[in-house]
Assembly symmetry: C2
Homo-oligomer: 245 residues x 2
């Protein structure tokens, strides 16, 4: 039995998120079925981040155990062959020890959130960005974001259905940068609460529009109440970029 660490890229538009669902195809199901077609038995796949419907991945990490003796190259090629037709691919495969767990061994997760900030809606990047036609002040968003960096109770940015034991997390980095018509938000932490990145982005967008001052973000954090912060940004702008072990 070998444990394989897999790095995945996928288009979240095509899946009902990572985790298996009765209602439709998920990334987990696609990967497990591809592995079954390759090795004859269906393993259980575990991911670093259980992304929601519509959320994309440039570097999701999953692990699964395969009894058949094989090489990393064969695992990658065979899984990609069996995933053909679905917009998910294995970027890299690596044999790891049985102590490795994609979710629990992760030391940091890097997310990127893309906002298209122009009058015209997206044509090429439809489903890949959050379109906001009102001009946003990225510098004000960045300054406000710094109130959220650090060790805090993030209850105000936590989804009701979040299953984390504690709302206290350490946010290592939250940077907002304008790149032409796009605004990019980078978020790094050991782990995030459910919807935390999207709730932070939805709140920062209020600052970008001039509806909120930066200090209102600090007040929203201090309130420890979901109703005190801004709305949840849509999933299509969010990318799981990298997981660090």
């Amino acid at each position: 039995m070998t444990r394989w660490k897999l790095t995945l890229e996928y288009d979240g538009t095509a899946f009902l998120g990572w985790q298996r669902q009765a209602q439709g195809m998920t990334v987990q199901q696609a990967l497990e079925e591809a592995a079954e077609r390759f090795c004859g038995e269906r393993p259980v796949a575990h991911a670093a981040g259980r992304t929601d419907t519509g959320v994309h991945a440039l570097g999701q990490v999953a692990h699964l155990d395969i009894a058949r003796e094989t090489s990393a190259h064969t695992v990658q090629m065979a899984l990609n062959q069996h995933l053909k037709g679905l917009p998910v691919v294995v970027l890299a495969a690596e044999a790891v020890g049985e102590a490795f767990h994609a979710r629990f061994s992760a030391r940091a997760r890097h997310y990127r959130f893309r906002i298209l900030n122009r009058r015209a809606p997206p044509a090429l990047e439809r489903g890949r960005v959050w379109w906001l036609p009102v001009p946003l002040d990225a510098a004000a968003m960045h300054d406000a974001a710094q109130h959220l960096v650090g060790h805090h109770d993030f209850s105000s940015f936590r989804a009701a259905e979040c299953q984390a034991a504690s709302p206290v997390k350490t946010l290592d980095r939250l940077e907002v940068t304008r790149l032409g018509e796009e605004i990019e938000v980078l978020a790094e932490a050991r782990s995030f609460l459910h919807h935390q990145v999207r709730n932070m982005v939805g709140t920062l967008a209020l600052v970008g529009r001039g509806k909120w001052q930066g200090r209102q973000v600090a007040a929203a954090l201090a309130a420890r109440d979901r109703k005190a912060a801004g709305p949840t940004a849509p999933p299509e702008g969010l990318y799981l970029v990298r997981v660090v072990y």
Copy 2:
């Protein structure tokens, strides 16, 4: 009657190219029908580049005449409203004189061709890049490309169905750059022959793989025979980026 210059972005995957076709939706038809819904009569739209099926645009330029008196802002918003549901948007609208012609007034056209050069196929960029898993030498491709820059008879890179009066064109720029897993080819000229960029890219890919030497590209050009050059690269990597007037 006002002539409007329109800058367009579109996802070529969704259209049978620019030009009207009996068999299905084209960008020209989508734009003309949107204009008709806006102003009651159907104008004829002319484009700077009659892109093929699958070819994308980040800055296509078209013009059309509208009798109704209106503002640039209204033209853009109304057309985008009526284009909703199709992946084509008006990035900018500008009133121009009746001497302006999107195709004949253009002084330069800038194309970009994207190659994804990695072992794993694209998930997020499917339909947006040419996937070539064999490692390519971008520096060798760039050096070979310089044989094509200048004033030449490009018959070797011309599609059989090309309607241009002459195969002689001036290629102002052909640059090949590696950006991580991607190779980007930039091509600039006053105008191009039909399939010229895709035929040049298909030929340069032979150099990138090491199948051809750079001087064979010069020999292919000198042969003035389509059979002397390499295959046509697929449309999905090609973007019309900008038209200069």
